[in-house]
């Protein structure tokens, strides 16, 4: 019974953190703390590279309309097959990147002396939210039309783009002398 209550409390905290983050997402302070140097994967997710358009392209409604306009069941089936494959790979890769960022963040946070608990909770909620979103989209891609999760995919890309900034806000940059000399 105690375990159930504990789980409920944990779930409530997670939900609250998630909702709080979603409400505050448009007024996040992007100050000096956000200028933490990002690794390659983070930089890509922070919408800095050529990649953020991929979700838009994979779930493109214009492409779907174009193929349907050809009035060929074979083409339609091929399009479904191709886009489902691409979407699944893209989602797998995105989930993998988010996990890598989380691990990177956990490793770095061990060396930080003034962690912001609220920011850490927000970040945790964001990680959980993004991974769950990835799984939901994977399911939708398998059972529905290839462009069905388009809105979710665009939302996912937007949220993933904020991950780098959120992480920067949660974890102040370490002075050089505090950084571990070598990593396993």
């Amino acid at each position: 019974m105690n375990l159930v209550i504990l789980l409920f409390v944990l779930a409530a905290v997670l939900m609250w953190a998630s909702l709080h983050f979603l409400r505050a997402k448009d007024r996040l302070p992007v100050g000096e703390k956000a200028e933490v140097e990002l690794s390659n994967g983070q930089a890509e997710l922070a919408a800095g590279g050529d990649l953020p358009f991929l979700g838009d392209a994979i779930f493109s409604e214009a492409d779907w309309d174009f193929i349907r306009g050809e009035h060929s069941p074979l083409l339609t089936e091929l399009f479904r097959e191709e886009r489902r494959g691409l979407a699944a790979r893209w989602l797998d890769k995105s989930a993998e990147r988010i996990r890598a960022i989380r691990e990177d963040h956990l490793r770095n946070s061990r060396y930080s002396q003034d962690l912001d608990v609220l920011a850490e909770l927000k970040l945790l909620a964001l990680f959980v939210y993004l991974i769950t979103l990835c799984r939901c989209m994977l399911l939708v891609v398998r059972v529905a039309e290839p462009t069905t999760p388009r809105a979710l995919a665009l939302h996912f890309e937007k949220m993933a783009g904020r991950l780098g900034r959120e992480q920067g806000a949660a974890l102040p940059p370490l002075p050089v002398e505090e950084l571990p000399r070598s990593r396993p």
């Binding site: 990649l51 392209a57 174009f66 193929i67 083409l75 191709e82 691409l86």
Partner: protein, 154 residues
């Protein structure tokens, strides 16, 4: 092409000159982005992945030309990858029209051997490359279907 991005990428002034020369004398005269990408891929050695262009190298040196060819190749790749399926089909049509081969023969070879796979630049995101390859495959099927319909019409 976005000149600002290109200038930022090509810090070496000789490479920038080689890039401009490449566009003025060669790429600018080739019709269609797909055609240009195929041309640029053909300047790359299959085994080493190194780009070579004897004419440009004589004027600007190997390193500058390598950078210019690589940059142009990547820029065109990204442009094609960002294209819609409809635009890509139009690119394929331009490529087929400008080829000396018969459209039927070219379509058959491209659908079977998928030679366009070797036209992807080396240093690009694997997911983006898969998207372009998948779109090219779909584009070829669209053209094949249109040709079959034309052939069966009385």
């Amino acid at each position: 092409m976005n000149r600002v991005n290109t200038t930022a990428r090509l810090a070496n002034p000789d490479a920038l000159k080689a890039y401009d020369d490449l566009w003025q004398r060669t790429l600018g005269k080739i019709p269609g982005e797909l055609n240009r990408m195929i041309y640029l891929a053909s300047t790359r050695d299959y085994n080493s992945g190194r780009y070579h262009h004897a004419g440009l190298e004589a004027s600007f040196g190997y390193d500058a030309v390598k950078q210019a060819l690589e940059t142009a190749h990547q820029e065109i790749f990204w442009k094609l990858t960002r294209s819609s399926l409809e635009q890509l089909v139009a690119e394929l049509e331009v490529y087929i029209r400008s080829s000396a081969e018969s459209p039927e023969e070219l379509l058959r070879t491209w659908r079977t051997l998928q030679p366009y796979r070797v036209a992807i630049p080396l240093e690009v995101d694997a997911m983006a490359a898969q998207l372009l390859l998948s779109n090219l495959k779909l584009g070829l099927e669209v053209l094949q279907k249109r040709r079959s319909q034309q052939a069966t019409r009385p």
